[in-house]
Every structure is written in structure tokens, then in C-alpha cells.
Amino acid sequence: MNIHEYQAKKILNRYGIFIPRGKVAYTPNEAKRAAVHVSLRGPWMLKAQIQSGARERGAFIGSSGRKGGIRLIKRRRDIIREAEQMLGETLVTAQTGPKGKFVSRIYVEAFQKVRKKFYAGLVINRVVPVLTLLLANLEDGGQSILDKALENPKEILKLKVDLNKGVSLRQIELARRFLQLEEPSRKHLQKFFNALHRAFVENDATMIEVNPAGVTKRGRIVALDAKMSFDNNAMYRHPEILRLQDDYEEEDRALKAAKFGFQYLEFEGGNIGCIVNGDGIALAAMDFIREKGLDACCFLNVKGGVDRDKIAAGIKIIMTNPKVEGILINILGGFLRCNLIAEGIIAAASEVGLNVPLVVRFEGTNKDTAKETLINSRLPLIIADTMEESVDKLIAAMEESE
């Protein structure tokens, strides 16, 4: 789960990290009031609150201007006009995909002058796995952090951080030299790292990124931007963070699926809806479909679902997606019992109708009962025995129904 910049900043600030004065605004008038509130004379930053990187270089759909989602405003009278250009519009960045993201609110911030910027990220390294602190010097107009990672990985300092103890004194000194900061900055750096670490550990974060962090004239470290991601599986112990979830950020169908404990993903293009019970089989099924020259447009992972009604509700999400022209169900039952899926298919079909070809392949726990249930239902669906066969049969049926 991700949260917005202004929410992440508020959390980091609670742990002692300096942030520029800022206020969130939902309307242009609110933006103007917020601006006066955070700084009388400006300049100000207007920042579109969508959960994506590269907002500055993004573009708004339908706007001719080349201005992105992060703007420096010098005159107070420009605020309303600039805010109007952002609020209620859709911002496309390198990380959002072509559909972009809807800007429901902007963050109005006092511009903070800094003499140096750097990148700081705290993340769980999947390889080892250990908590890792990432640091890089940033030059204005220089290489982005991603390009650095790909082309000059040596310019990124990676430090393994003890999950319980945090960043060590030796590591702080290493970081200070790497970032070319003067001796007196050490205590600021220590405070900054400690806060990052505590915010990470105490909130079940999976990633915190301050990109950039700024160093002020007096050596203080300020978070100029902030991103935080959290572990969905641990949100039961952080209701205060769960409340920050922004429904605008989730697709309707994904939101619905999540309510039933399922995972739903949509892709550009494609016309086949897949229902599976694991990531691995989802990937393999989509690989197969691609091999046959078609593409999946969405998939639903019912994981180890054991509740028939929830499964039916999940299947309905796929059945009612207008892009879906064929449905492929591949279930390898273990924990999940195939017969529940069969009953779910029947319940869903009886409610919303089955208007596109549907191929089912069951293997594992209770597969025979499941097949029997489907056959007895007299629904016009096709049963297959292997994954390859299921894809072949679906494609044949889709061609026939055209």
C-alpha cells in the first residue's frame, strides 16, 4: 500500500525529519489560502498528489502546456490559475502508464532553498534479504537516480542496515563522506537516518524514499519529497495508516477484488480474462496466451480462497469487464478446493449471465466433484485437462463465436 507525499512527510516529520511548511488543497481557492498560510511572500511549490515518481517531468492529458505535476510559483496571483490546471486533471508520468492518474488534491509548500541535494532510500533488499540504505548525490540537471542505478551503479552507496539497531555510527561517517558533507553535518545526518529507520520499522514500511533530501545553509537536512510504501499484510496493526489509502489510486475492480481478499490486475490491450489461484500459474497462463498470439487483459488471483460467495463475487468482476471476450480459469487446488470454484462459477453466471466463451481447467483437490458440478449445471462452458489444452480450446471457442 502506498500513500501520498504529504502524508508521508507528515509521518516522517513526526519522527523528527524536517519538512518545508505545507498544506494540502482540494480546490484552487483552498490552494491560495494554503499558500498564504505556509509562506506570506513565497515562492511556493504546487505539487500534484498522485502516487508516482517523475511527476515533475509528467504532462497533463489534454493540456497543451509542457508544465508538469510539480511547479515553482513566484507570484501569489498565479496560484489559482496554476492550481486549476492541475486539480481534477489527469497526470501522466513515466511511472503511471498512458492512462495516467487523476489529481484529486495538490500539496502547497513553502519553497525551501538548499545548497545541496541527495537521494536517500530505505528498502528491503529482496535478494539477501536485508534492510538496505541507498544514497546518491544529486546534481541539478544531472542524471536521474534511475539512470545512475543503470549506468553508474558505483555512484550509489548501498549500506546494509541492522533491522533492530538501525544505521551504525561507522555507516553515518561513511555516508557523510560519500555525500561530501562537512563534519558538523554528522549529527544532522544521524538524526535523519535514525528517523528514517524508526519510521520504517514502526510502521511496517517496505520502502521509504526521500528524493531529494536537501541540505540547508546551516547543514540541516530537509525532506523535499517523500514516498512511503507499506506491507499490506501488516496493515491490521496500523489502522491509522490504512485510513490514508486513497481510493482514487485504485482501479474500481481492483478495489472490489481486494475487498474479498483477492488480487486483480488489468493490462493494456488484450481480451482474455484469467482466473487463477496463484502468481506462478497466472504468469504461466499469460505466457501461454501470448505464445498463441493473444493477450490477457486482466487477471484475478483468488489465492487460497475458501468462501464460495467471495469466489462468486470475484468471478463476477471478470465476467462483467466489457473488455473480456473469453475467460480462462486455471485452478490447481491444494488448499483451495476446486469444487468451491465450480460452485462460484455457477453462482456468478446465474447472476450476471455467461456471454463469452469460458474454459475451465481443474487439477488437484476435489477436481472430480468440481467437474461433475459444472457438467450438471448445463452451463455452456468448456472443460480442459491441461493448461495448454485450456488455452487452445478457449481460442478456438472465441474464434467460433466471432
Binding site: 529482496r126 534479504p129 538496505t132 533491522l163 501488516a234 504468469l283 490447481l332 488448499f335
Partner: protein, 290 residues
């Protein structure tokens, strides 16, 4: 021999009284698994499915000599359940739960370090040695005894791989699902080591998938292994870049190497036989072992 579990493994079940646990424990018993005890805090002294239930793992071991555990406890209680298993020095713990918090798993990894206990999972179908022991939730009707070891990250593709081995008219020595999560207990490296020392395993089928670097790490290890057994490898996820993006930290760590193709190249380079689709495993096995 098989690896990690066999007919002599004495199994206890943590969280035995739940509905899902009951369903699968019954199946495991029918399969012939030697389940000797259940553990449910507060229910010590009772009986469930004809198996004595104890309040703690230590008590269960003292009374029954159990040496392995299957955990059916919910995700949020996994950390404590593993702690109990580690402190009681069980040889093996299998954790079925899906959705264990990552931070809990990081702590669990720290607990396991230097301990006697090996952990399979979480989010795994478990481990099965056909005809001998079933620790987990595998569909019990698909496995056949044989000499091919199967290890996979994805639960569902584990079954797919097992079916392929059957279609090659062979069977499995032991089948292990490592678990679908980002932070897990045993990984490919440890399982490859186990299989390489097992005189009843002739070849290994390894199923990887997009995400993480488990396959790259396995390839590196395999390359340097002195007594290699042939490995037939498949990696799922050629078409789709998974998940959506938020920030750069993940990309920096991976340094751009995130595709299934990168994984396959690394495995091929290490000397594994890499197939493009699961259904090619059959022919490769027949090539190797006929």
C-alpha cells in the same frame, strides 16, 4: 532416501483444531503421514481427529518425539509459532499461511540463523515425499514415487511440474514448494544441496518465476557445485512486468535485472537445462533419464 521428510518423520501440527487444518490433517493421515501430535495453546490434554493435543510444542515433543511441524496458524501468529518451533529445536517447520508481514519474516530469518530448524514457506503448499509423508496441503492424488526432485516458488506451478514428471512416466523423490513470498525460509540453494546429497534423486525440476533474485542466486550456487545433478529449469513470467511502480528503490537494488529472460540466461549459463514452457520438461526428462 528422499529429502527432509520420509516415513520416519514424526509430525506435529501447530494450530491443529482449525477447520482448514482439520481438512488437511485428515488427508495427510490417510496418506500415511505419521502425525503424532497437535499443538493449540489452551487446548492441551484434549484430542482432535484421534491425535493428542498439547498446549506447547515442547510438551508435544517430550510426549511424542515429534521432529517436524506443519503450521496451520493464521499469518499474524506465525512469528510466535516459528519461535516456538526454533526454541524446541525441531528439524523442520512448514508454514502454510499466506500473508505473513515482511517485517515478521525478517525477524524469523534472524531467529533461524544458527538454529537447528529449517523453515519451508510461508505461503507454501509444503513438502511431500510420495507414498511416505505429506506435510502441507498438496493435492495428494497427483504424486507418484520416483527419482525426480521437484522444487518451485509458486504453489500452483509445483503441481504443474509434478504432472509433467508423471507424463514423462516418472515419479518424484520429494516435492517442495518454497513459498510465493518475498522473504521465505529455505531457498533454491539449500534445496539443491539437499537433493544433491540424496541418492534417490537423479534429476531436479526447478520452477522459478519473475520477482526477487532467487533464481540468480541459485544459478550462481549451481555453477560452483562440485557434484551437480542435472537441473531442468523453467521461469514463469515472460510477458508481464509485474506490479506497479512506486519510487525507484526497488529498481536500484535490482539494477535493471528484473525480467524472466535475465533469470533464464543466468540459469543457462550455470549449466541448467532451461525450457521455454512447462510442457517441455517431459521431453527433457526423458532425454536425461532414459
Amino acid at each position: 532416501m528422499s529429502i527432509l521428510v520420509n516415513k520416519n518423520t514424526k509430525v506435529l501440527v501447530q494450530g491443529i483444531t482449525g477447520t482448514q487444518a482439520s481438512f488437511h490433517v485428515r488427508k495427510s493421515l490417510d496418506y500415511g503421514t505419521d502425525i503424532v501430535a497437535g499443538v493449540t495453546p489452551g487446548k492441551g490434554g484434549t484430542e482432535h481427529l484421534g491425535i493428542p493435543v498439547f498446549g506447547t510444542v515442547k510438551e508435544a515433543i517430550a510426549n511424542t518425539g515429534a521432529n517436524a511441524s506443519v503450521m496451520f496458524v493464521p499469518a499474524r501468529f506465525v512469528k510466535n509459532a516459528v519461535k516456538e518451533a526454533v526454541e524446541a529445536e525441531l528439524d523442520l517447520a512448514v508454514c502454510i499461511a499466506d500473508g505473513v508481514p515482511i517485517h515478521d519474516m525478517m525477524e524469523i530469518r534472524a531467529m533461524l540463523k544458527g538454529s537447528k530448524t529449517k523453515l519451508i514457506g510461508p505461503n507454501t503448499p509444503g513438502i511431500i515425499t510420495p507414498g511416505e509423508a505429506r506435510l502441507g496441503i498438496f493435492p495428494e492424488n497427483i504424486h507418484k514415487k520416483g527419482r525426480v526432485g521437484v522444487v518451485s516458488r509458486s504453489s500452483t506451478l509445483t503441481y504443474e511440474a509434478v504432472l509433467e514428471v508423471n507424463r514423462a512416466e516418472m515419479g518424484q523423490s520429494t516435492v517442495i514448494g518454497l513459498g510465493d513470498d518475498m522473504v521465505i525460509g529455505m531457498d533454491f540453494v539449500e534445496v539443491l544441496d539437499e537433493f544433491s546429497q540424496d541418492d534417490e534423486t537423479d534429476a531436479i525440476v526447478l520452477i522459478g518465476q519473475l520477482g526477487g533474485a532467487f533464481e540468480e542466486v541459485a544459478a550462481k550456487h549451481y555453477k560452483l557445485m562440485p557434484n551437480k545433478k542435472p537441473v531442468i529449469a523453467f521461469v514463469a513470467g515472460n510477458t508481464i512486468p509485474f506490479g506497479h511502480k512506486m519510487g525507484y528503490a526497488g529498481d536500484i537494488i535490482a539494477a535493471g535485472k528484473v525480467t524472466a529472460q535475465d533469470k533464464r540466461a543466468a540459469m543457462q549459463d550455470a549449466g541448467m537445462i532451461v525450457v521455454d514452457r512447462i510442457s517441455q520438461i517431459r521431453a527433457q526428462l526423458q532425454n536425461l533419464l532414459r
